[in-house]
């Protein structure tokens, strides 16, 4: 796939909509135009505006930086036809990867740090989210829609606002330190610095992503058949054991969905490390942003994006399979 040109891009960058050859009109042999449009329009849109741009990212990551606007050399000169493509193949290099990504330890560190923060945050989210989802699923039936609404409501408020809310709380003279000081946990004279550290980033992530963890967990716990627990109790199983042997295995699809729904976007998170993290909080999403906007090194930003995407492709595919399976269960 590396460096291969887009399927059929024209110079205008609009590849034609895919052929829907297998369209089988249900009634009669005439072409079902309605069905063709129903599939073709969104399909074409996504190919042009979603798939094709990724080919461009890959292309650019193999390109050279240039001091121009836009700051890179054109890769393929389509106007020159075959010759242009041959030139492109000859000039193909992995310099963005070998020259910058591997030699400069910053990118490796950012990647390792993102992986660490995303893993810790996802784990904390599970530990915090599970008891909440569990209690919601056990609450009286009339309460449940309200509880779900209460979890969703902060999600409707701006992400940026919710992250910003923590800036005031985590400041050295902010409310967290005041609260901890009142409890005698920290020395009020010398409050610990929390804002602009990895701890602040993790707190912000757990806060912002909690609804994404609680809702899938709740969905799987709420559907649970409670006679199973009764059966276990009747057979002499203590509650903690039936929780571990019955409830947890049943909720595993929810755990899986919640963990993926949080872990994948956290890996590329930009706003939270930028507002709550310090200058040494390296996360890969922020690295892409800085390379792109501050250093104006588009090829390296693209190369980092490609590396991140390659790392995330397995979790993303797992997420899609879980989505498909969840829908299958509906039928």
């Amino acid at each position: 796939m590396s460096g291969a040109p887009a399927p059929r891009p024209t110079s205008a960058g609009t590849p034609p909509a895919p052929a829907i050859a297998a369209a089988q009109p249900r009634r009669g042999a005439r072409i079902d135009w309605g069905r063709l449009a129903m599939i073709g329009v969104p399909y074409g849109w996504l190919i042009v505006l979603f798939a094709f741009p990724f080919v461009l990212v890959l292309k650019l990551s193999l390109s050279d930086r240039a001091l121009a606007v836009p700051p890179f050399r054109p890769l393929i000169e389509w106007e020159r036809g075959l010759e242009g493509i041959l030139d492109f193949l000859a000039a193909l290099d992995l310099e963005s990867y070998t020259g910058r990504l591997i030699q400069n330890p910053i990118y490796g560190e950012a990647l390792a740090n993102s992986l660490g923060i995303a893993s810790i945050a996802t784990l904390i989210l599970l530990l915090v989210g599970y008891p909440i989802a569990y209690a919601m699923a056990r609450a009286p039936r009339d309460w449940r829609p309200w509880l779900v609404m209460a979890v969703i409501l902060p999600f409707w408020t701006s992400f940026l606002i919710r992250v910003y809310a923590w800036v005031g709380i985590l400041q050295p003279d902010g409310l967290l330190n005041a609260g901890l000081g009142a409890l005698g946990l920290v020395d009020p004279a010398a409050p610990p610095r929390i804002l602009f550290t990895d701890t602040a980033v993790i707190i912000g992530i757990v806060y912002a992503y909690l609804p994404f963890m609680v809702l899938p967990l709740y969905a799987s716990l709420e559907r649970m058949d409670h006679t199973l627990l009764e059966a276990a109790a009747d057979l002499g199983c203590p509650p903690w054991k039936s929780f571990w042997l019955v409830t947890v295995p049943i909720s595993l699809p929810g755990v899986f969905a919640g963990a993926l729904l949080c872990f994948i976007p956290i890996m590329g998170e930009f706003v939270i490390p930028d507002l709550l993290g310090g200058p040494d909080t390296l996360m890969i999403g922020r690295t892409i942003w800085v390379e792109f906007f501050a250093n104006r090194n588009w090829p390296v930003a693209s190369a980092v994006a490609v590396v991140l995407l390659v790392l995330l492709i397995v979790p993303i595919l797992l997420f899609q399979r879980a989505q498909e399976r969840g829908l299958g269960a509906h039928r």
């Binding site: 129903m38 599939i39 969104p42 609450a139 005041a178 627990l229 930009f270 792109f292 829908l327």
Partner: protein, 268 residues
């Protein structure tokens, strides 16, 4: 076996909701602060709100954001409904797996990557960055959420209604507008609202997709937060939180009413 909430469950709920709501409550509280501090409340005042409504730049950004949100949510709803229909009613077609993949992927794809990809696309196609590019980018990343919302509703409803209409000679497009659309309407409305919220809220993708001189509200908020925390931003956030809360409550009342109506029709 007794069911119901144990003290552990109650603690989890109370602690969980406190954690979710305390930061927002504090944010709102300090928007009414007399002095320029967001950690020390000294007295009530509305001066930050006065300042806010004098800030032309901010109001212009808000207008742009709302226009963009409404336009992109409308377009995303049309495309999202089509995508959901294609996935649920489309049967088998070539590239269905790839199509489903493209529908689900933007939901979890890190925004930085999406934004970068959009920008490179706009540069490659020489589209001047501004309202149109913002619109295209927002429609693309929000239509997927509409598709998923509508899809679950389509899967839940009885297809024989559509088939009955078609057996009676109703053309497919007509049965869609007369039968399918009214039934999936709540999910379509929910999808529209979701797309609108995501669009109004977006910072990262907008930063990549917009050009010089075209700033959305989140971009404005972001740049002022970077300069420092002031009660003026708190006041702005409070206004937005208020609008969202009212919107969500109205939407859920409307939805509840339509569900009640549907129930009454279903049971003659």
């Amino acid at each position: 076996m007794k069911r119901g909430l144990t003290w552990f469950n109650v603690t989890a709920l109370v602690a969980g909701f406190t954690f979710l709501y305390i930061p927002l409550v504090l944010l709102v509280l300090f928007s009414f602060n007399e002095v320029r501090s967001v950690t020390d409340f000294t007295g009530f005042s509305l001066r930050w709100y006065e300042r806010l409504f004098d800030n032309d730049q901010l109001l212009r950004a808000a207008l742009v954001t709302v226009q963009l949100g409404l336009a992109s949510a409308a377009l995303a709803t049309v495309l999202g409904v089509m995508a959901a229909l294609a996935l649920v009613r489309g049967g088998r077609f070539r590239g269905r797996t790839a199509f489903a993949g493209m529908v689900y992927a933007p939901m979890v794809m890190p925004e930085v990557i999406l934004g970068l990809a959009f920008l490179l696309f706009f540069v490659a196609t020489s589209l001047e960055r501004g309202f149109v590019t913002l619109l295209l980018a927002h429609v693309t990343f929000t239509m997927c959420f509409v598709a998923v919302t509508v899809q679950s509703r389509l899967l839940a409803f009885d297809r024989s209604l559509e088939e009955a209409a078609q057996d009676l000679g109703c053309p497919p497009w007509k049965s869609f507008f007369l039968i399918t659309l009214p039934i999936i309407a709540p999910a379509v409305a929910a999808g529209f609202l979701l797309a609108l919220t995501l669009s109004l809220d977006d910072l990262v993708i907008s930063s990549f997709a917009s050009g010089p001189g075209y700033t959305t509200l989140p971009m404005r908020i972001y740049s002022s937060v970077r300069l420092g925390v002031t009660p003026e931003i708190n006041a702005l956030c409070t206004v937005l939180i208020g609008l969202v809360t009212v919107g969500v409550i109205v939407a859920s009342l409307v939805q509840k009413r339509s569900i009640d109506l549907a129930r009454r029709h279903a049971r003659p």
